[in-house]
């Protein structure tokens, strides 16, 4: 059966919806979310473990008055691993939110199908969901680019005062970028959760319309 979809605002509320003759199922980001949430979760745990191990090695070097260039290399590498962990855990949270939104979209459509309503009304992707996706991608870049640069700069360190100073400067700049990335990721997650509120509001209204549809 082919699905005819058209945009309308026929509900008593101001929601933008798709009207179809059967449930639309999950959209692409939601299908991706379902598949990637657990791999990202596993990657996060590995990143955190790697970061902590490097940090312990560096602490041992520092307490033994080890070479300055070695401790500086380990500082960059440790931060790189740790923020692979953070990028992965934030991605996993985002994918888990997308999975929840997918359950609402697919489940809501299937319930309307089961009742046999004349039309299946599905909420179009709200603006907050678009901000969630866009914010998540930008934040991911703001964390992953510094992570790559941490490894690149670590390979560039030599045992001279100028090199060590340059390494410290680079670390401070990358730390600033990472912090902005983390805050942006958290805000994107807030928008993702805010989308769930909108979906629940739409559902409460739509459910009450079903007996007359």
């Amino acid at each position: 059966m082919t699905t005819k979809t058209r945009s309308t605002e026929t509900l008593s509320t101001d929601f933008k919806i798709d009207i179809s003759d059967h449930g639309l199922g999950r959209n692409k980001p939601q299908r991706v979310g379902r598949k990637l949430v657990l791999p990202m979760f596993a990657m996060a745990l590995m990143g955190f473990a790697g970061g902590l191990i490097v940090a312990i090695i560096r602490a041992a070097e520092l307490s033994d008055n080890g070479a300055s260039d070695a401790t500086e290399v380990l500082k960059h590498v440790g931060a790189g691993f740790m923020f692979i962990g953070f990028a992965a855990v934030f991605a996993a949270i985002s994918f888990a939110i997308a999975r929840i939104l997918g359950e609402f979209r697919a489940g809501g459509g299937e319930v309307q199908d089961t009742i046999g309503t004349r039309t299946v009304n599905t909420l179009k992707m709200p603006a907050s969901a678009k901000v969630f996706l866009g914010g998540m991608m930008m934040a991911m870049m703001l964390i992953l680019i510094p992570v790559i640069l941490h490894f690149v700069f670590a390979a560039d360190i030599t045992d001279t005062l100028a090199s060590l100073e340059q390494s410290e400067e680079r670390f401070i700049v990358l730390e600033g970028i990472r912090r902005i990335g983390v805050a942006l990721y958290l805000v994107a997650i807030a928008f993702g959760l805010a989308t769930i509120i909108k979906v629940l509001r739409f559902e409460s209204i739509r459910i009450r319309e079903l007996p007359n549809n």
Partner: protein
């Protein structure tokens, strides 16, 4: 205490389900304020990078640390407010389903569904004649989310003041001690805020379970409830580990601050990553909580279709 907190997470009498959520707006507002604080701190870091050669970068870096962590905390508080909004909306959805289900469900054939444990598409589930009571972890989540958020935010603010004071301090011994206190306190606050968010997610799981039970009891069908999935058990375990690590890093930072013979550089080299791991583990527990919410919603939609289709 629980009764008073329920006034925050249950819809107020007469609340119009069509109206937009206030918590959604407040939460997004707090999130944007937090982002601005983190951006200011990031710009501060860029400026401090130029002061490495003359050895004055530390002063700037201490306040940018405080401001950025306070920014993260503010966004997390915004997330918590949005989660409260989700709880309120979940109960409004329960009311809608209770009202509508008797009108749309099939009449049924007069026989009741079997009770006992069975395998559903979403994991092991139980079928009972009445709604099962809340699990102990759900009761704990409903009691603990608010104190955790309140204590977390207070710790964060105390840590911010300590970071700002340490930024203006010139005595190296005092700087090391004050900044150790600031780091430990702020990350204890962050861990508590994430703990509060995790407890709110636990409260959402409780609301989905209780709401589902209430609807099925009201409609007069067998009450089918998903058993606690493995992801939920792992969520509780990881959350406890994350909180314990958050407390441990705080205690160790105080030890460094109080112990003049300790080598702060060596201690900070692994305490910094340890405090990040504590937050990472808490965030990982949040992933599992959200994953479990997705599974329970999937189970709930399947059950709704079953009641509509078979009437039992």
């Amino acid at each position: 205490m629980v009764a008073r907190l329920e006034t925050l997470t249950r819809p107020a009498p007469g609340l119009d389900f069509r109206k937009p959520s206030k918590q959604r707006q407040i939460g997004i507002g707090l999130g944007l304020v937090g982002l601005v604080l983190a951006v200011i701190a990031g710009i501060g870091n860029f400026a401090a990078a130029g002061d490495v050669a003359d050895g004055t970068a530390g002063e700037t870096l201490r306040w940018t640390f405080g401001l950025s962590v306070a920014g993260f905390g503010t966004v997390k508080l915004g997330i918590a407010v949005i989660l409260v909004g989700i709880l309120v909306r979940l109960w409004l959805r329960v009311a809608a389903v209770k009202e509508t289900m008797p009108l749309v469900k099939a009449p049924g054939d007069g026989t009741a569904a079997q009770t006992g444990t069975y395998d559903s598409a979403w994991g092991k589930a139980t079928a009972t004649t009445t709604a099962p009571g809340p699990l102990p972890i759900h009761k704990m989540a409903r009691t603990m989310w608010f104190p955790m958020l309140a204590m977390g935010f207070m710790a964060l603010m105390i840590g911010l003041v300590l970071a700002l004071v340490s930024s203006g301090e010139t005595n190296p011994g005092s700087v090391a001690s004050l900044f150790a206190w600031a780091q430990g306190t702020m990350f204890l606050g962050e861990a508590m805020l994430l703990g509060g968010i995790a407890f709110l997610l636990g409260s959402i799981l409780a609301a989905i379970r209780d709401g589902g039970g209430e609807v099925q009891e009201t409609v007069g069908v067998t009450v089918k409830t998903l058993k606690m999935p493995a992801s939920a058990k792992a969520f509780v375990g990881l959350m406890m580990v994350g909180l314990m690590l958050g407390v441990a890093q705080f205690v160790l930072y105080i030890f460094v601050a109080a112990n003049a013979s300790a080598n702060p550089g060596a201690w900070f080299a692994w305490l910094g990553p340890l405090r990040e791991v504590s937050l990472g583990v808490l965030l990982a527990s949040i992933v599992l909580a959200l994953y479990t919410i997705g599974s329970t919603l999937g189970f709930q939609f399947d059950r709704m279709k079953q009641i509509i289709g078979t009437g039992k």
